[in-house]
């Protein structure tokens, strides 16, 4: 239990500090992106065993040892592709969201990170008594993600829907004006990062514009909030990857 707690605290501290440093630093300079680099590296290498180990085990069971296909189906390419995709998507999403997150949202997201890390670690300890590795870890990952992200998604969606302020000028904006309002939330400084982030800001603004146009359909506003809350799944998975990474590297000093 204590070990799970320490791992979850480590995961929360690492993600929280990386993103906070990025948020504060981006107001000064684009070099703030360096704060996200360790996170990206860690997510990539942390994802690796989570993806490749179950694959290899399945392959080990399915493929005959003498088959020449075993060299082709090593799973490394697939793992690299999936890990890189996750790193790119998660880092971009988290970087974007943490720039605009309110203190309330940030608090809830940190709680989610901690809970996801803790529940993964705890459930892995439990599942490892019943399943072989890496399946225990595989199930713990899924369980940790779903058990935490699903309720937190609802909480974030509720907060986005009921408490998060949207700019009033959006109410009467045309589509083009809405996009401009969205992009204007970025610091005035141009650059590659701003160009990349502008797509996400524009997407969010376009979504909000659509909700305003069809405000009589309440479900659309709910979907808007849910969409914003889906970030919870990415964050939960990122937390689990880092918690697992910590777990793998918290061995005692080798003799």
């Amino acid at each position: 239990m204590l070990s799970s707690f320490i791992k979850a605290v480590g995961s929360t501290a690492f993600l929280g500090l990386s993103l906070y440093l990025w948020r504060v630093g981006y107001h000064f300079s684009d070099w703030a992106i360096l704060a996200l680099l360790p996170m990206a590296v860690l997510l990539f290498f942390g994802s690796w065993p989570l993806i490749i180990d179950p694959w290899k085990e399945r392959l080990h069971l399915a493929l005959l040892p003498q088959s020449p296909l075993s060299r082709l189906l090593s799973g490394k390419f697939r793992t690299a592709f999936l890990a890189m995709t996750f790193v790119f998507v998660s880092v971009a999403l988290l970087a974007w969201q943490c720039l605009t997150a309110s203190p309330l949202q940030a608090t809830i997201l940190l709680m989610l990170v901690f809970t996801a890390g803790f529940s993964f670690s705890w459930s892995q300890d439990f599942l490892v008594r019943h399943f072989r590795q890496p399946f225990a870890r595989y199930w713990a990952t899924s369980l940790g993600t779903w058990l935490v992200a699903a309720p937190f998604t609802l909480i974030i969606a509720w907060i986005t829907w009921s408490s998060e302020s949207q700019p009033g000028e959006m109410l009467t904006a045309t589509f083009q004006e809405a996009l401009k309002i969205g992009i204007d939330q970025l610091p005035a400084r141009r650059g590659l990062i701003a160009e990349l982030l502008s797509w996400l800001y524009a997407y969010d603004a376009a979504k909000l514009w659509l909700v305003i146009q069809y405000k009589e359909y309440r479900m659309l506003a709910v979907f808007f909030s849910l969409d914003a809350a889906l970030l919870g799944f990415v964050l939960a998975r990122a937390s689990i990857i880092i918690t697992n990474f910590i777990g793998m590297h918290m061995n005692k000093r080798p003799k």
């Binding site: 107001h27 360790p38 860690l42 506003a221």
Partner: protein, 575 residues
Amino acid sequence: MSEPTENFKKKNITPMASTVRYTVGHLFWGTIIVFAIASLALTVLAVMQPVKDDTGSEELTNNSDPELPTTFLEKILLGASKEALDVVLPDIEKLVEEAYKPVDDAIAPYADFHYSVPGQYIELTQAARGIMADRIHDRLFDGLSERLNDVASNVDEKFETAFEAALDAQIAELFEADQEGLPIGPLSDMVITDTRERLMLTAPIATTAVAVTAGASLKIASKTIASKLGLKVAAKVAAKQATKGGGALVGAGSGAALCSWAGPGAAVCAVVGAAAVWFTVDAAAIQLDEQMTRDEFEKDLNELVDDDKDFRTQKLKEALKKRAVAMDEGAKKALAEFTLKQLSDPETVALCQQSNALLTGYGVFQDDLRTRTSSAIEEYRRTLEELRNRKDSAATILAPLVMEIDKNLEMHGYGIEIKQIQLSGNFPSDYLGYRDLDGRLTLGDQTVTLERNTSTVEVEFSLQSPTNLKNLKINRKEPITIHMALIQDRRIFRDRMFGRSILIKEDEFFDAIPNTAGPQKTLNFPFNLALYESRDDFQVIDWRETSARRNANLRLDISGSSLPDIEKIPSCFED
């Protein structure tokens, strides 16, 4: 505890891997410590020292600082533009005056040129070639366009500086008590930063008033001067032609007689003599002309330049006012926020319905001038104010609409102009006759002279003002008092003076507006015309209370300012 599968086990237990993992573990916790220290340092830096971003605006990033109330933010943002306007508007006149100084200074040299023999011929040639306006532009307005551009940029800069200063002063005033700097929360800071950023981009007059400062518009002024000057030059030359034609003939004749000694060169001598006489006469004529008309010429030029100066000063002032209004609009929009819950709240739907009623009310004001009494507009605006002040869940969604309606009403709702006045009727039977009539009418502090007409014994008299009177507005703050005077011209006999002063209260005025379509209305106020010794004796009457039989009628053709259509109706009202 279950064992890992054989395949999995083999891969995870090498001593080398264990060492690497131990090192990476240290690196991980080390990274956290480094990040924690860096975060702390950056946070302290952000709090202690306001950070300038690329736009030069200051950004404060302490999330724990208090947010300013929206009403206060609105007050300081709107107050800043008003203060900046008050500071800069009086300067425009001085700046334009400075820009026109070289033009004023160029008038005397231009008059010297104009009243010289070569100058006259050059002007004539320019007029014939149609380039007079260009040359006048070169001589008088050279460099003015650039100087006016500088004025526009200068005014922009002063406005921005004054705006920033007013903003800073207001914020500083708020925190004067604790002297702890400017601890503004991030949301309030965002609104203020946004306002500072918008300041540079919102309708700078160097851009919006380009028509005022552009060289092309100055060419129009040059053309006006050229056309007036061209007429003068042509008239002057025509007058001289007659004089000088005779003079030249005399010069040629007397020259031929005087040059008879020259023998074969007599003809050439005669031509030179004629030319000398021509130019001598010309110079004398110009000198005489200068003596007689130079002062008037310079005065005319000065007046034309002053008119142009006034026109541009006015336009620059208008452009600056528009800039201030645009800043206010932006600030109001930035302050209005909403949540998605509010957007689809049943309360919002109810509020939408209420606002539909508001739009209907606005439509009535738009369509029917009779409804625009001060009390009705004030009452309606009070409802708008109540809506604006509501802090419940859905009021913010309607804020832009409410503000637009209110602005339209404030700017156009009260405006009623008199376009034409007609006075008609019959004199008492003892005074009927075939006589010329003059009429004058005073409304508030403005006087309108009616066009002269003739009265007869059979037909009632009718005097009218010129059509499309300018700037004759109804002042709603006090009852309208109209003094009317009619003078019957009796040629060799003493003129007769008729008149009456009538007092029209606002509700009476609006009651008199007929129920007809369109913004132009005709109002009739019958009254009793009386004979007076002088205009000062006119008795002021409340026209409705006169019991005597009315023998005259005052007709006012009025026009209400048209209320603009609402531009940005939130989507829930569009159906």
